[in-house]
Symmetry: C2
Subunit: 198 residues, 2 copies
DNA sequence: GCAGTATGTGAGTAATTACTCGCTTTGGAT
DNA sequence: ATCCAAAGCGAGTAATTACTCACATACTGC
C-alpha cells in the first residue's frame, strides 16, 4: 500500500473530470513555475477547484506528482507504440528518424515539465516501481531493435533513450527539425558503431 | 546587482574556510536528500556552523545554490582544460574516449548533485549569465573540435555535451568503464556522420 | 418534495523554514 | 592587560504551505 497509490478513489466510477483537471493544472504549474511553485494551493487555484477536492482524489501532494508522471508516461508510450507500428517496415535509418522526431515533439511541447518529471520520478520511485516512465518504453524499443538485428538490443534501447533525452533537453531552443536531424545522426552513429568493429 | 552575487562579502580577505565548508555541506545535503532537503537549517547543521554564519557569506539561499553551481562548473572546466591539453596530439577517437571518461567520472562521483545543479541552473539563470556552467566548457570543446576539422564545431560541442550528459545521467548504475565505451562510440558515431553524407 | 449519498468547499491548524538581530567570542594591535 | 572590530552564534519572527474537517451543495431514486 503506497502513499502514491490512488486506490482510495472514493467511488469506482467517478466522473474523473476533476482528477483530470487537477493533473492538467499540476502540469501547467510545473511548466510555468518549476518545482518551487508546485504547491497544493497553486494547483487547486489553477484547476479551479478547492484544496479539499484535491485531497478527495489524491492522498497527498506526492501522489499528484506520481499520477502526473504515470499519465505522461502512458501518453508517450501510446504515441511510441503507434509510431513503432507505422515504422515497422521502414529501413532502420528512416525508422530512427521518425522515432526521434516523436521524442523531440513530445519534449518540446513542455520542456520544463519533462525535466522535472525526470527528477521527481527518481525521488519518488525509491527502488519500487523502478523507472515508471521508461519501463515499457524500453521494452517496446528493445523489440524494435532486436527485429533490426541490433546486438544487445536492451542496452542499446536504454542508451538511445538517454542519448535522445539528453540532446533534446539541452537544445530546446533550437529549430526542432534541425535538432531532429542531428539527434537522428547521433543515434544512427551509435547503432552503426555497435558491436565488433575489428 | 544580483541577489546571487557574493560581492557583499564582509571583508576582502576572509579565511574563506567557512564559505568552503558551507558549500561542501550544501553539496552533501543535495546529494543525499535532494532539492527537498536543501534548506538553510540542514546546510548549517551539516556544515557545523550557525545559520547566521551562512548569511554572513551569502545573501540568501539561492546564492548558496548559485555559488555551488559556479564552483562545480569551475572544477569541471579546470579538469577539462587539463584533459584537453593532454589529449591535444592524440587522434580524435582516443581523445574523445578520454574526454568521455572524464565526464563519466565527474558525474558518477555525485550523480544526484549533477542533475539537481542542471535543473537549478536553469531556474536561477533566468536569461542572465546564460548557462553558467557550460559557457566556457563549450568554448574549450569548440576549439578542440575545430582543430580536428569538425564542421560546425560550436553546434557539435553543444550536442556532444548534451549527448554525454544524457547518457551518463541515465545509466549511472552501469559499470563506468563499459559506459564510457558506449558513450564514446555514440560520440564518435555522431562526429563520423557529421556533415555531407551524400 | 424528500431522504440519503456522493461530491465539493475553504477557513483553520500545525509544521516547516528563510531570514534577522542583538549578543558573545576571537584575535590582533598597542 | 585593554580595546576594537571581525567573525560567529542561535532564539525568535513572519511567511508559506500541506493537510483536516465541519459544513454546503448537487444528484439520484422514490
Amino acid at each position: 500500500m503506497d502513499v502514491l497509490d490512488l486506490r482510495k478513489r472514493p467511488s469506482q466510477q467517478r466522473s474523473a473530470r476533476t482528477m483530470d483537471v487537477v493533473l492538467e493544472a499540476a502540469a501547467q504549474v510545473l511548466e510555468a513555475g518549476g518545482l518551487g511553485a508546485f504547491n497544493t494551493n497553486a494547483v487547486a487555484a489553477r484547476a479551479g477547484v478547492s484544496i479539499g477536492s484535491i485531497y478527495q482524489y489524491f492522498p497527498g501532494k506526492d501522489a499528484v506528482m506520481a499520477a502526473l508522471i504515470r499519465l505522461e508516461a502512458a501518453r508517450f508510450e501510446a504515441e511510441l507504440a503507434r509510431a513503432l507500428e507505422a515504422a515497422a517496415d521502414l529501413p532502420l535509418a528512416q525508422a530512427v528518424e521518425r522515432l526521434v522526431a516523436l521524442a523531440v515533439a513530445s519534449q518540446t511541447a513542455r520542456p520544463n515539465l519533462a525535466r522535472i518529471l525526470d527528477l521527481e520520478e527518481r525521488r519518488l520511485g525509491l527502488e519500487a516501481e523502478v523507472t515508471i516512465r521508461s519501463q515499457t518504453t524500453i521494452g517496446q524499443l528493445t523489440q524494435f531493435l532486436a527485429r533490426h538485428d541490433v546486438p544487445d538490443p536492451q542496452v542499446a534501447a536504454g542508451d538511445l533513450q538517454n542519448l535522445v533525452r539528453g540532446m533534446v533537453d539541452g537544445a530546446l531552443h533550437a529549430d526542432p527539425h534541425d535538432l531532429t536531424r542531428r539527434i537522428a545522426r547521433a543515434a544512427m552513429g551509435y547503432l552503426s558503431g555497435q558491436a565488433g568493429d575489428p
